[in-house]
Each structure stands twice: as structure tokens, then as C-alpha cells.
Amino acid sequence: MIEAFFAQMPALVIVLPLLAAPLCVLLHRGGPSWFVYLLTTWACFGLAFLLFVQVKIGGPISYAMGGWSPPFGIELRLDALNTVVLLLVTGIAAISSVYAKASVAAEIASERAYLFYAALLLCFCGLAGITVTGDAFNLFVFLEISSLSSYALIAMGSKRRALLSAFQYLIMGTIGGTFLLIGIGFLYMMTGSLNMADIASRLPAVADTRTVEAGLAFIVVGTSLKFALFPVHVWLPNAYTYAPSSVSAFIAATATKVAVYALMRFLFTVFGAAYAFDRLPLGEVLLVLSVAAMLSGSMAAIFQTDVKRLLAWSSIAQIGYIVMGFALASSAGVSASVVHMVNHGLIKGALFMAVGAMFWRLRTISLNDIAGLGRQMPITSAAFVVAGLSLIGVPATGGFISKWVLLEAVIAPGHYWLAAAILVSSLMALIYIGRVVEVLYFRERPEGRPDVGEAPVLMLVATWTLVLANIAVGLYATPLIAAAQRAASAVLGDGS
């Protein structure tokens, strides 16, 4: 019985949220739906952890959906790379589910709360599905599931602008999804297969064709739209700013990472690093774009007056770090990418949660309104400061580990200009985080504003869990770095 359960774990990670979402709709009440959401995400987190350990000990797992063996049926495939991403997604979902209750009660109309949780579960299901699937078309389907539900989630934001930003995201996201589908279609046309491993084995025979090159281009642009790589990032600031707080925290920490994972999976597993980076100049293109993202994102973040928007621009910059890592196509680079994916998930999750807690109290999050809040919401403000330090990359935080391994990866092949860009962008992070901290602690509360107390306990617990995870990674990074190196050798192993 136990063995049968272990064999079913890869599917259960997707099936549980898929069952829980309609269950929420049937329950029709916010409270019970939240409980279902909480149980599901924690169960999936547990499953992800078991899968992570199982892959670490026993190597990759393959699961034949519906009993149809790959390459004919849909295959779920777990290796050292996607178990890390899965652990991140489920972990953030589990922690944000603790956070969600109070936040949702304040921001979402109570008669719609059950729909909110159902959409959140579907979004989670899609993200987990993208991560575990080994089938190119299935990946597109899960991407659409997660995207469609996130459009709905963002549109539920409390301001009317939320609708407009969700629509903007819908347009850009649909273009991205369509490009990805066209790319997958081209690959299917040339290889006659949709299973990633099968495509990879058939691709070398037809690699010289324009169709495959165009397929690669479509897939790169399509996924880049989804993770908001400069210059196709315009949807992101509005979407993150106007989304409900718990959605911002969850999506900012997971959705872009999963899209980056999807691109890595295509580049390294399907096309192979040799094809994408040696025969085509993709590495150079991505490096230039990542530097542009880091500098322009950080620069824009400095000039924001809305803290959520500031964090959103900072996310665009941070995506640059992640892309820069794997664009080097070296083992050190890919593992730096994975490390920063995890760390940035933890950092941005914590920052958006802290900001969401302030929003919960104030109903606004512009710099003027949060002035002097350091004394009235000390625990929340402290969480923001520590997570902010991690974002800057101060030693003993997760962000420092990220920057360290990334610097090592760019200096080894002698790309000193990239190292300079990382340092400049980190200094800019110091400026924009510093501005918020200065406002929080060194300004007086504006005249005529009522005194506010701390945020609800569950919100603080969730926020601080992520903050402490940051510090834990900073102090004891060995497991994360080892996992990232296993991931890098898993995807680069038989290519270069």
C-alpha cells in the first residue's frame, strides 16, 4: 500500500489541487474553502518533499499518465531540477495559505472568497503541473491553466485598476502562450513527438532546418513573455501592484520562476545546450537582455512611490540575475540560476507578505502613507528590513549566497562586465530598499493618521517563516547549493 502511494506521488501533486478546486466551488463558503486550500497546499508540500528525497536517493522518476507509456502517453518526469522548483512552489503555496485567510477576508468580498480559493488552487495546480510534466504540449496546457486563473486572481484586486492590469496581463500572457504553442507545434511538425525526451532524441537529425530554429525562437520569446524578461516586462508592474496581497506574494514568488524553469527545460533538455548556445547565439542575446533587465528594473524601482510597484520592478531586475545564470550555459551558471530562483522566491514572498500586512492595516501602500510605521508595526517592518537585506545581498542572508555563486559563475569565464552589472544592480537595490526603510523608521507618522497596531498573527507567522528561511539559507547554504549542482548536472549531464 505504501509503495503504491509512493508510485502515485508525482500525479497526486497535480490531482489534489485539481480535486480541491471544484470542492471549494461546491462548499460555497470562504472559511471551509480556505481550510481546503490550506490542507491541499500543505499535503502537496509534503509530497514534494518526499519526491525531492526520492529523486535525490534513487534518481529520476517517470510516471505514465493513464497507464499510456511514454512517448505515446503523457509522462510526468521528475529529476534533480524540477523537484527543487516543485519544492519551492509548494512551499511558498503552503506558507501563503497560512497568510491568505486574514488578507483575503479584508480584500475579497466574502461571497466571492470561495471562487478566489478555487482559482488559487487551479493556479497552483497549473504551476505544479508545468513543473512535473515531461510532455511539451502538456506543459502548454498547464501554463494556460495557471495563467487563466492568475488573470482572474489579479482582477479580484480591490482597486478598479486591477481589472485593467489583469486585462493587460491577459493580452501579453496570451501572446506568450500562443508563441510557446507555435514553437511546440514546429517541434512536433519536425519530430512527430510531444514527449520532451523523445523530441530531444529525434531533434539532432533535423536540427539544421529553419523550422527548428524558428521553433526555438518562438519558445524563447513565449516563455520570456511569461517571466517578464526585459523588454517584454511591461505587464508585470501593474499586475503585481493591483493584485490582492496574498496573490502578489504567491505569484511573485512562484509564477515567474516556473516560467524560467520551463525555458530552462526546453533549452537544456529538449534542444540541448550545444544547439541553443553554441550553434545559435542565444547565450549572448540572453546575457545582454538580463543585464538590461537588471539595470532598468532596478533604476525604475528607485523612482517608485508605491511600495508594491517598487517590489514588482525589483522582480524584473531579479529575473535578470536568474536568466544571466543559465545563459552562461555552464554548470556553475545553471546552479547559480537555481539557487537564485529559490532565494528570490523566498525573498519576494517575504517582502510582498510584509507589504501586504501593511496594506491590511492601512488600505494603501504608498511611501507617504507608510511613513513612521516602524514604530507602530515593528514586527512587520522588521520582516521587511531583513528580507530587504537579503534582496540586497548582505552576508548571512540567502541573497548573499545567490550573488556569491552567480559572481563565481560569471567571473570564471572572465565576464567581468557582467560582474560589474551585478554589483551596480545590487547597489541600486540598496538605494530602493533603503528608501523604504528610511521612510519606515526615520520619518514621523503623517499628521491626522490614526495609530495602527500589528497585523494578524497568522500573517506575521507566515511572513517571518519566509524571513527565517532566508536567514537559514544564508547561514547554512550547503543543502541548497548541493541540490542546485545536482540540478545543473542533471540537465547538462548528457549535453555538454
Partner: protein, 150 residues
């Protein structure tokens, strides 16, 4: 549309065959072209036709949005539940071979159940979307019975 006797009579005549055809497409989906999605759309078309001719309020009374919410969720649960049942019987998710005493019957039942789930959800969702769109900005009309005697 109240004065269009022809439309009303023709609609009444048509709705039953449309629903019958939807059920045919639904339950022959595993042998012939068709299946849950197509059947669901055809079935929803019958409800939408009713709403177009007899008014949204009448349609909502016949098929209430609340019912649609429940059937929509139930359909998805039937689909996923079939998969989980296969898991409980020792197969993989959605492996219909394990649903019955032999693989052929298992595949048959599995397909039938899953398509039924799809059909149920598609009817509910398409009709709900229609209700939402048709109801936009017309809330005032529904709340003004005077001068609108039925």
C-alpha cells in the same frame, strides 16, 4: 419576443430535439465523433435559445445559476474522481484498465464517465458565461415589473 408567435412555437418544438441530439453526441462520443465538450455546447445552446426567446429571467428560473455552479463543480469532480478511483484500484491516474473486471470494459466505463464529467461542466460553464454576459447592465430591467406584465 412575446409577440412573435412563430418564434415561440418553433423554439418550443426545437428545444427537445436539440437536447436529445446533445445526449446522443454525449453518449456515443466514445464510438463516433463527438463527446463531452461538443455535447455540452449543444445542450447549452438549447438553454441559451430558451433564454433568447423567453427572456433571461425565465431561463434563470428553469436552470438556476446556483444549480449550474454545483453541476459545473460536480463535472470536474467526476472527471478527477474517475482518475482517483483508478488509482485506488491499483492503476495510474486515469488508467481506465483498472476500472472494471477487464481492460475493455474498464476503458469503456472510464471514457463514459470522464466524458459525462466534461459534458456536465461544459453545459454549466457555457450557460453561466451566457448568463453573466446577458445579465450585464440589465439588472434594472429585471427589477421593474410594472409595465412589463407577463
Amino acid at each position: 419576443m412575446r409577440e412573435h408567435t412563430v418564434l415561440r412555437v418553433v423554439t418550443k418544438l426545437l428545444i427537445a430535439p436539440i437536447i436529445l441530439f446533445a445526449l446522443y453526441v454525449q453518449f456515443h462520443g466514445d464510438y463516433s465523433p463527438g463527446g463531452g465538450f461538443q455535447a455540452g455546447v449543444v445542450f447549452a445552446a438549447a438553454i441559451i435559445l430558451y433564454a433568447l426567446i423567453f427572456g433571461l429571467a425565465e431561463a434563470r428560473r428553469a436552470v438556476s445559476p446556483n444549480l449550474l455552479r454545483i453541476t459545473g463543480a460536480l463535472g470536474a469532480l467526476i472527471f478527477a474522481g474517475t482518475g482517483v478511483y483508478a488509482m485506488l484500484r491499483g492503476g495510474n491516474f486515469l488508467d481506465y484498465d483498472y476500472l472494471a473486471h477487464d481492460a475493455i470494459h474498464g476503458q469503456h466505463y472510464g471514457l463514459l464517465l470522464v466524458e459525462f464529467g466534461v459534458g456536465l461542466t461544459v453545459v454549466s460553464v457555457i450557460t453561466s458565461i451566457f448568463y453573466v454576459f446577458a445579465g450585464r447592465g440589465r439588472r434594472n430591467d429585471d427589477e421593474q415589473p410594472p409595465g412589463d406584465a407577463r
